[in-house]
Symmetry: D2
């Protein structure tokens, strides 16, 4: 299903691309059985592991979708990207970066050890849980709903609709995620939290439980590819500097402790979540002429079977294939 006006090319070429993507989705769907759906949140375990869907949205308006694109799934760690953006927009970039570092850790996303190991002055980065919870604590408002409001407003501006909170996933997560409570109390003790722990965790579990689709992720991606401007309306939704810092973070820390491999083998800023979603950002490219998304695009992928690092196993392979075929790497 190809939509939009492909300025760089004819309708026919778009159809031709669609066929390619359909083939690739079909091929990589077979890889889903090498991974497993997330088990640490009870409700996430119930999803069909064979699902795989993708939407690619060009800055030029071209859109290609393939596979299980109607499926809703929760943001999970992808929400860390949005919270970071909102915190920078509401508290200021320097306020946020004075309280959370931007260094990759080499450790798993839910590590507590690295906090103690290094007697840190601030968490390693906004995409490990310790850093993400710290960023969530910076959101303004006295209740979790007030804190979440600017996140929903940002999503509504970007997507054209207000996504829903998946209450079942939220409650499942709230009641099961003991590691995040452990991290929370640790952060509380060392004085990193900017607001009440319980409200911070409630907000964190809710932000993780917002329902989206691959179309939504692709739209978020294409706005980041445009440095925060919606390519359709030309409206600046995210300040340029925030969008660029977010992309730097995605590249160095976005794919858990496989971020280095993703940067090397795929080469685009991306952020994944344990629900199986990935948002990827391909900025405009200068070099080759004959490429479909030369002008930049956003990509949303969903494939709930995960590899051992917590990334969609088929999703990563599909992205690597597309990035290689269409030369999307920023390097």
């Amino acid at each position: 299903m190809v939509q939009g006006t492909a300025n760089w090319n004819t309708e026919q070429t778009a159809e031709w691309l669609q066929e390619y993507v359909d083939d690739w989705v079909k091929f990589y769907r077979k890889h889903t059985n090498e991974g497993n759906v997330a088990s640490y949140i009870p409700l996430l375990k119930e999803v069909d592991p064979d699902l795989l869907g993708i939407t690619i949205m060009g800055r030029n308006g071209m859109k290609i979708s393939s596979g299980d694109i109607g499926q809703q799934f929760t943001l999970q760690s992808i929400s860390k990207l949005l919270t970071f953006i909102v915190a920078c927009m509401t508290r200021g970039i320097s306020y946020v970066l004075n309280r959370v570092d931007v260094e990759p850790t080499g450790e798993a996303f839910n590590s507590i050890m690295h906090l103690e190991l290094n007697e840190l002055k601030k968490p390693f980065n906004p995409f490990v849980n310790a850093g993400a919870i710290t960023v969530t604590s910076m959101l303004e408002g006295k209740t979790s709903d007030l804190k979440l409001e600017p996140i929903f407003e940002l999503l509504e501006k970007m997507l054209g609709y207000r996504p829903s909170l998946n209450v079942d996933v939220y409650e499942s997560e709230r009641d099961s995620s003991m590691r995040n409570r452990a991290i929370g109390y640790y952060l509380l003790e060392i004085g990193f939290l900017e607001s009440d722990l319980n409200i911070t965790l409630e907000t964190y579990f809710k932000q993780c439980s917002i329902d989206v689709t691959v179309d939504d992720l692709a739209k978020i991606g294409v706005i980041l590819a445009s440095d925060g401007v919606d390519p359709d309306t030309r409206e600046e939704i995210i300040p340029r500097q925030v969008a660029r810092i977010a992309k730097a973070l995605m590249l160095t820390c976005g794919m858990y402790d496989a971020s280095g491999k993703f940067a090397t083998y795929v080469g685009v800023p991306a952020k994944s979540g344990v629900s199986g979603g990935i948002v990827a950002v391909a900025p405009p490219r200068v070099r080759e002429e004959n490429l479909p998304f030369l002008d930049g695009c956003g990509i949303g992928v969903f494939g709930p079977a995960l590899d051992e690092k917590g990334n969609s196993i088929a999703g990563i392979r599909l992205l690597r294939h597309i990035a290689s075929q269409w030369d999307l790497s920023i390097f």
Copy 2:
């Protein structure tokens, strides 16, 4: 103030020992200003740092006390010793030791890191917080008061009176000890806890907040020196095997990450708490004839100014001096 019948010696010698101990307490009290009272529990900060008191209670009935001996203080980590004993008595030694290891860690008592670092099957030992909370979770009963009951009963049997819970310290500790909550949630997540986390933590904070005196600690010590038998009544209060395992643990892990130095320089099983208390156990000795406590003794010390490891700074020096003068070391 010397009491009891010193079988090995005359009343006069007892008075002569009293003078020595008075001198030593006077001398080591000057060392209190090199330490600091515990700061992490607000109420503990308010105590007078210059306090220093000691009671030595021989298996032969002789008792020497000196310094600030009327002062009450809370058990804090010394309670870990009692909880371990009660858990072994009610659940069985093998039940307990299957769920908590007995290895020194080399890390601080409140470390979370070592849990993650080693992907442990069980916490390192019952005297680091992670192990102690795990042991507390093994106590039977559905409320913290029911869980504590056998600890109070054991104390009543040993001391001849039922000590009180210091409610102010308990509440201060409950409301401030975020690191212990972090450890608790971590233990919950990896499946080490045997009962509800909140009730376990409530029990843990209460056991830490039981008020005692140096006389009480000396009595606990002398019972352990007698392998669990009260030397006055000849009643077995703690099973022999439990008492001996407890002493082994005290020697290898009882003085936080200074346990090795204490074993080397003092050489007796001991357990300290951040309130400034230390209970030490000198078992019967065979060698030299001319020693006051040849037949074994228990020692209670209180000195709230702590060294950097969390042990009473003057208390350790006083114990080292006495152990050296009277050859108390088990080695």
Copy 3:
């Protein structure tokens, strides 16, 4: 001193840029006194800490140089980039990447701990010492000079002359770098080395001791900006895929454990050395029209006063300023 034909602009604009850069170098030279020259290699300690020099070389032929540009300095860790490239060219990319990972570590460059901590199957990345020594061991040849030959050949092809080995620095390094010997023996024991340890270390110390200038680094940078092609001769010197992987690695791991901050605040692939050199790569950009190095450039910086992470303190600030003024960031 501006040379070359600035296609995008007139000679006058080039002069105008030169003035800017001269001002910036003058300004940031004052920052050198906030850092310290490397102390762990005796000979490096003798250099003047106030030095600061830069060369910017555009793919369009424009060249701007300012400050202490005649100064020679040794490659140090910048050589890790060259060794990695040569190993990929001679052994194949997959051979190399099967034996060294590409993940940032969060630890200092000379850490041994992270090897033991994670029971690694391979070193974290080619830019920490453990990974770099492993890569050096992959170079072919039975002596250090044979192993180094392809590195010198690559440099000669890129620079138009064969740089010299600084024998004094090499000997100083060989005789003082005990940590690297410790790492080497550790690697030997766990079976990561592909050739004799002593020859590997000799090669490693020699590769670190090759003398270059900021002009040389700028030239290396502009070739990487061109995906391995010399923009002057159009000759492909480094295979395109190798050049792109190298740039991904530079971005995620090139600036020691400040790589994340460099990616966020400067945003270009770069590699630094403790001699105070930095090579940075700004690829072609699509967006704004009015930028001097829109078509991409390489940058060489030299400033031996280092920050606590081991990067040139004034060099990083100068690069950050230029990247911000001319919008060089790849994000």
Copy 4:
């Protein structure tokens, strides 16, 4: 084979004890197949894994031996005990303890990590390799043979003969132990070594390669049980204070990272080596009347099949059984 005059008992009882020990050795020999001989030193791999032998030597002169008692084996880590004693005797206790700590680590004996992890001022204890190599560097003399001389002299005094260096094991160890070289260079870099690294390592590998038998270990043990005095000759061979510190160290750190379990379940100071030897020390006991070695004894065990911590698997079980049957525990 029982020798000596069993003061506490008749010859008949001694024969009766011999039968018991023979039975136990027979029984625990079956446990050897649950372990593996050390593999990291090539020559050690060649030994018969089923071997098991023991000698118990009482302060009262009674001696019981059973199993493969003629077998020679190298001291390996047991030499760390002797080097520590010699260093204390020649350099002074405070000199040694100012340069090496006495804390258990919780980590494996060959860990480098714990050095880096804690930015140590001195190695954790004399029985991890880092600490042992540091202690060896304190021995006086400009060659390894000069450094070893006082160790051989001490052994000769204790054993009545001068044991030999096993040159094959020494060379095998020198040529294969890369981890120890890694540790050595690390120690050199952080400034812990008191003499040349190569000579220190040569000395270290030689001290590990001294051949002994279970009789020898039992004799060393019984001298330590007598606080340094040879019970036969009444000569003081090791100063009392050194002997007692050595026993404290054996208890807290002597059995690698199973020292806590050994203290708890066996309860006597002991030191093991990866060749399968263990020397254990049972000091005089006061309590029960009816025990064969009430007056203290030394025990030598040899069983080259090791458990995962590096201790003789059958040896530990045999010791635990004997300690339990004869109540040898110091607790």
